[in-house]
């Protein structure tokens, strides 16, 4: 116990004396949480639209004003020539072209049917998909309006229409930030927990102080605890700072209890610290540890469900997310913050992450050698 006290005292002194660590603890979460959620936004707005109007009728103008009034589209060009609109797409000035054929109004009135042509720039898949879908639904809406105007008092609509109304649960305004902020917080905690710890131990290897420790009677478990505890505390500190920032800056108050978040985070930090420890036992320079950590964080983020939904990943990728601790924490954070889940709801997540903690730490302790 006394030995551990000295190890911890030394570790905390070094951590709080290192300006770069202090910056990582306080500045990194602020910047990441204040900037990233605004930039990492799925909502597609400002879709650039070029309209080729061969009709120049009242109806075509009505349609166009309806589209621009939706707020999703920016009318970049209004021409009567297809080649000019295509050039817009080629130059990336337009994302969508809507072509209104010459007798659009006439056909609609007389023959009760008209065709429109839509060309989508599909380089950015999400934007193209959503833009096309928005435009289609606006046109359908418009179609309905025209029909009600023309077909007076029908007893039954000749076309069955299913009207869908939806209500958004847990995030009624579909505020994107409620979804992103808890996820980004998880990444922050992960980075501090695992990589700072790994770098710290590898630094001792590089400088040679670890050999001096190895030649003292300090036990393996004491040394490892002496490294784990400070970064565990640091991880919880970052989590608290992050929760505070998300409350002040975004008004995010977890629907569930803080206790649930902290209980899960405590176990989760053990798992990622174990991973950091493992990285440190297999690397001998800070550079190696950095590169491995960088690779891992890429995988963690991209296969963790932060930006993309895990459910829509191919099955093999979903299998990988099962062994990615980050995906569990992101899930839990969203469940607790948005849905108000309790400890019993996240029992499966908690037990799985506990398993990771035991596995990583066990492996790390097994492969850490005081003697070569």
């Amino acid at each position: 116990m006394r030995t551990l006290k000295f190890l911890l005292q030394k570790e905390f002194r070094q951590i709080f004396r290192d300006p770069s660590i202090l910056r990582i603890i306080f500045v990194m979460p602020m910047i990441q949480l204040l900037i990233l959620p605004w930039a990492a936004d799925y909502e597609v707005k400002d879709i650039n639209l070029s309209v080729v109007d061969h009709d120049h009728s009242d109806y075509s103008r009505q349609l166009i004003s309806k589209i621009t009034a939706s707020g999703y589209f920016r009318l970049r060009d209004y021409t009567a020539s297809c080649p000019s609109a295509l050039r817009d797409i080629e130059k990336d000035n337009a994302d969508l072209i809507l072509e209104i054929p010459a007798s659009f109004e006439k056909q609609l009135v007389k023959e009760d049917a008209a065709t429109l042509f839509m060309a989508v720039n599909a380089i950015n898949g999400t934007k193209a998909n959503l833009g096309g879908a928005y435009l289609k639904s606006i046109i359908q809406d418009y179609n309905r309006e025209v029909r009600t105007e023309w077909i007076q008092f029908p007893r039954f609509s000749p076309e069955t229409t299913i009207e869908v109304t939806s209500s958004n649960w847990f995030n009624p305004l579909m505020n994107y930030k409620y979804f992103m902020v808890p996820g980004i917080l998880v990444i922050l905690v992960t980075m501090v927990g695992s990589f700072l710890a790994a770098l710290n131990i590898v630094k001792e290897k590089e400088v040679g102080t670890i050999e001096q420790i190895n030649v003292t009677p300090v036990r393996k478990y004491q040394f490892i605890l002496g490294k784990l505890i400070p970064f565990w505390v640091l991880g919880l500190l970052i989590l608290s700072i992050g929760l505070l920032i998300s409350r002040v800056a975004y008004g995010i108050v977890p629907a569930g209890s803080f206790l649930t978040i902290y209980v899960f985070a405590s176990v989760y930090l053990l798992a990622v610290l174990g991973l950091g420890l493992l990285v440190s036992t297999f690397t001998s320079t800070q550079q190696q540890a950095m590169l491995i950590s960088f690779f891992m964080i890429m995988v963690f983020i991209l296969l963790g469900g932060l930006y993309t939904s895990i459910d829509s990943m191919p099955e093999w990728a979903q299998a990988i997310t099962k062994v990615n601790p980050v995906s569990y924490f992101i899930d839990v954070m969203r469940m607790v913050v948005l849905k108000g889940s309790s400890l019993t709801d996240i029992k499966y997540h908690l037990l799985t992450v506990l398993g990771f903690a035991i596995f990583f730490n066990g492996w790390a302790v097994f492969s850490y050698r005081k003697r070569s």
Partner: protein, 248 residues
């Protein structure tokens, strides 16, 4: 086993794959002795020292340090020895006092002992005004003297010094050796490697390693007589020139 012998090595060997770094060395070191462990770069000195201090597992042979076996009782050995490695191994981002306190603490020294002895050592090193300065701000010679004081702070039976005076100016080297003598007078056995042959003359006994084997062992006077030369420098050159192994 005689109580007088604090280090006993018999046919101690360390192999890394096909390379035999230490090739069956045998020697004894007596209590309170200053034992010089000489050899060219790459002769195997550091590896031998690491085996004796429990940092490296021997491939074969027998050895005991402070009465404990190097295979089974390394943790007990570690309690009984001090070690100062070739690389400077105090924490540069801790102050002089904090370093002393940390190392003394993990050897299980009591708070009062630490406090009293820290004051004594700082005074002895004339470093009282540097007590609260970060170690990285100290000149190399001071750092080395401090590292030695830390290595013997817990009053070990044996202290291992791996090229403690490398890169240190001659005046500081003198001071360093007077510290070694003082430690030896209190009964601490000193096991030291060096490249400076004038320092070899200060040792009670020296061994000279060539290509992983001990080629000569005895007091400096005996060795000079055996090789019929007037200085340790010449003894060393005569032996080291036979080496076939490339220096590292």
């Amino acid at each position: 086993m005689s109580n007088d012998k604090v280090i006993i090595a018999e046919q101690l060997t360390k192999r890394f794959g096909h390379f035999t770094a230490v090739d069956g060395i045998s020697f004894d070191v007596h209590k309170g002795e200053i034992f010089g462990f000489l050899g060219a770069n790459g002769a195997g000195k550091t590896t031998a020292m690491r085996m004796l201090s429990g940092l490296s597992m021997p491939s074969s042979g027998k050895a005991s340090v402070a009465g404990f076996d190097v295979y089974r009782e390394t943790e007990k050995i570690k309690q009984s020895i001090g070690y100062m490695s070739q690389k400077f191994s105090l924490y540069e981002d801790l102050t002089v006092k904090e370093n002393i306190r940390f190392y003394a603490g993990i050897y299980g020294m009591t708070d009062t002992f630490i406090k009293d002895k820290t004051g004594f050592i700082l005074k002895h090193l004339h470093m009282e005004s540097e007590a609260d300065k970060l170690v990285k701000s100290l000149p190399l010679g001071w750092k080395q003297k401090l590292a030695f004081s830390v290595a013997v702070f817990h009053e070990p039976k044996i202290v291992f010094l791996d090229e403690p005076t490398g890169g240190v100016d001659p005046v500081t080297r003198r001071e360093f050796w007077s510290m070694i003598y003082q430690a030896a007078e209190t009964g601490i056995t000193v096991f030291v490697t060096t490249h400076y042959m004038d320092e070899a003359e200060y040792c009670n006994r020296v061994s000279i390693m060539v290509d992983g084997r001990i080629d000569a062992l005895g007091t400096p006077q005996q060795l000079k007589r055996t090789f019929n030369v007037s200085s340790m420098d010449e003894v060393f050159l005569k032996l080291a020139r036979k080496a076939t192994r490339a220096a590292d």
